[in-house]
Symmetry: C2
Subunit: 226 residues, 2 copies
DNA sequence: CCGTATCCAATAAGATACTG
DNA sequence: CAGTATCTTATTGGATACGG
């Protein structure tokens, strides 16, 4: 009771804390605000500029994005840097430690995708599509599969490398791939995860490889209602 | 623009969605509200009643707890049940699927504990102490260690079993243990994680075993500022 | 174009008192 | 004990205007 008074007296400096030494409570102080984990997700494969983030996190407003980035920076998860000239634009990137949270939040996503309430029809950012591949790849099915698979989403491309049952991701031009998927994130997700006909998207390169590639990502089973 | 209007028109039925097919976004819809993950954490080792939760989640208000439990129930993570007679009290328990999120949020806690901003001096619930042991145990250090270690926090006890480098937890009377730690959650955490003198707490049983036990849980390294 | 700052309305959270 | 009801405060999101 006195504590609450104190907190209030301190103004909005140390406002809403959990006052709990549990790591999870601290995680919520670091990443618990609305949008925070999604911002971090967007930085998983390299730095991005403000307008990219604003565009890909459809629905976030500029002021909220500014606030999340500022907080994440103050907490050591994100760094604000300038790209080297001649670009010299300002970008945000995840710190090494911030990046270490990415596999954990990806697992959270994998867990949540099993919810009966989950609607995979909604739009996705390209980062989430690529991350879903990295998260859902079946080591068993991908055993012996060795290939470089590219993705072109408008003007952003990714190169993924399947090797040793895992999938590695880089954001860069996909011009040296065995096969490249071209389409919107939702279309590509529908083809790979939803079993939609592959003709829905454009595929450049080894079409047979593309067909095999898209069997490597079994969707986790939905949970029963009870 | 039309979407926002629509959402508003629908009233408070489908208010603040991320409208993102990404699993992580859905995870935030399931567990993203303040306190939600901590409520789930409290249910990790078995059912609890409203007042237990309210007591252990120090700082939560009754109406917020009610709301979180109602939401978690509607989303399939939590179930409201009645204990069999003669107790016949109402309790909340995590569903099987809800429990599957626990290791993930525990990893999130492990990650967050490395933050320079983390303050381990604050109070902890008994669940968080026991969960920290389960999360931080070093398989390497615990190799060959086989013991049943009890914890008594006031009137709540846990029995942990170290076997094959892992730690199993049950919430029940700790009367059949090789050694039992007795104290407050913070004191026990200080002794096991903080290297505080073991005399700070009470230990019943094999004291030498207790000394070895507390070396099994190396704290993850703090991150550097940059 | 890349943000930041400010203002406003709608929600969510918190404190407290109260009921079955 | 297990919540509701009510009131106050804090946070959110959207719009818009502003600075580099």
């Amino acid at each position: 009771m006195q504590l609450q008074k104190l907190t209030k007296a301190r103004g909005n400096e140390e406002k809403r804390r959990f006052d709990d030494a549990c790591g999870l409570a601290h995680a919520m102080e670091l990443l618990g605000e609305r949008w925070a984990m999604l911002v971090l997700r967007e930085l998983a494969y390299g730095s991005r500029r403000f307008s990219d983030l604003k565009h890909d996190l459809q629905g976030i407003s500029a002021n909220v994005l500014t606030q999340r980035l500022t907080e994440l920076e103050a907490r050591g998860l994100v760094r604000k840097t300038k790209l080297p000239p001649p670009a010299a634009v300002q970008v945000y990137e995840a710190t090494r430690w911030g990046l270490e949270a990415v596999p954990v939040i990806a697992s959270l996503g994998k867990w949540a995708a099993r919810s009966p309430l989950h609607n995979p029809e909604l739009r996705m950012s390209h980062v989430s599509v690529v991350m879903s591949l990295q998260t859902l790849i079946s080591a068993e099915r991908a055993k012996g599969f060795d290939a470089r698979v590219g993705f072109r989403f408008g003007d952003t491309s990714y190169v993924t490398t399947v090797h040793d049952g895992a999938l590695d991701v880089e954001r860069r031009d996909a011009d040296d791939c065995d096969v490249t998927f071209i389409g919107s994130p939702s279309e590509i997700a529908a083809v790979i995860h939803g079993g939609a006909p592959i003709e829905m998207i454009k595929v450049e390169g080894d079409l047979e490889l593309a067909e095999r590639f898209r069997t490597l990502f079994p969707l986790p089973e939905k949970v029963a209602v009870g």
